[in-house]
Symmetry: none
Subunit: 147 residues, 2 copies
């Protein structure tokens, strides 16, 4: 079971390269994937998590309009990543655009996935989220989701 935790501030160079925090590298070693995430960030999934996502998609019928659109965005926005000798990955242009990644990136571990944020967007998002941290926690436990 992978466990990604922590926040790292890294930079993306002109070629779209991003260093993966060294603490995350071992868990990713075999195979991993990046794709459009929710809330304008990128998701990075280790192989087993990726396959869990695929399983969800295989249930969707080609004839449903929404399902088509969703899988088009999901898969067209995905890429398999490889670490270079320095522990970096190459983020394709379309993903950098989606997440507004130019120079300063925030890499965070969220349990079974990694997320990559543009610095500005993360500042806004985490600021808001922090304020309502307790509120959200309360909402979640009233539903069927148990923490």
């Amino acid at each position: 079971m992978p466990m990604f935790i922590g926040t790292y501030e890294h930079s993306i160079d002109d070629k779209g390269r991003l260093a993966i925090p060294s603490k995350f590298r071992d868990e990713l070693k075999d195979r991993f994937f990046a794709t459009r995430g929710l809330d304008k960030c990128l998701f990075i999934f280790p192989n087993d998590e990726w396959e869990r996502q695929l399983a969800e998609f295989s249930k969707l019928p080609l004839t449903m309009r929404d399902a088509r659109a969703y899988s088009r965005l999901f898969f067209s926005g995905a890429c398999e990543c490889e670490l270079d000798k320095q522990g970096r990955i190459n983020i394709p242009a379309y993903l950098r655009e989606y997440a507004d990644l130019t120079k300063d990136a925030i890499v965070i571990g969220v349990m079974n996935r990694i997320e990559v944020w543009s610095r500005e967007i993360w500042m806004g998002y985490s600021g808001d989220a922090e304020k309502s941290y307790e509120e959200v926690a309360e909402k979640l436990t009233h539903g069927d989701i148990n923490i």
Copy 2:
């Protein structure tokens, strides 16, 4: 199991030639087919997927008006493709017309198939879809995506 993912921006020349992204070529090596897709794009299926489509169609009753229309367009628009030495295919004129392909094309991987879009149409489509990406994600997976 083929896995086509990613977005590529290629151009179609006057002769109707389109370069297939090199990452897709290996998966297509033996045999593959192109035809009219849904939403004004072209579908490209590797051989095994093509045969799965055939199987699906053979289940449809000949008496259903919509089924007749759909399979007519699907099969009359189909052609077997071959890669030239540079990794390009030749897209027949009627398919280019169907998908409005003139110069700039977007090639995307959608898991078990490849799609070819005119740049303009894709921009419109993906722009709309992106707006509802998160909504649809929630609807389709009803909460399987972690918060």
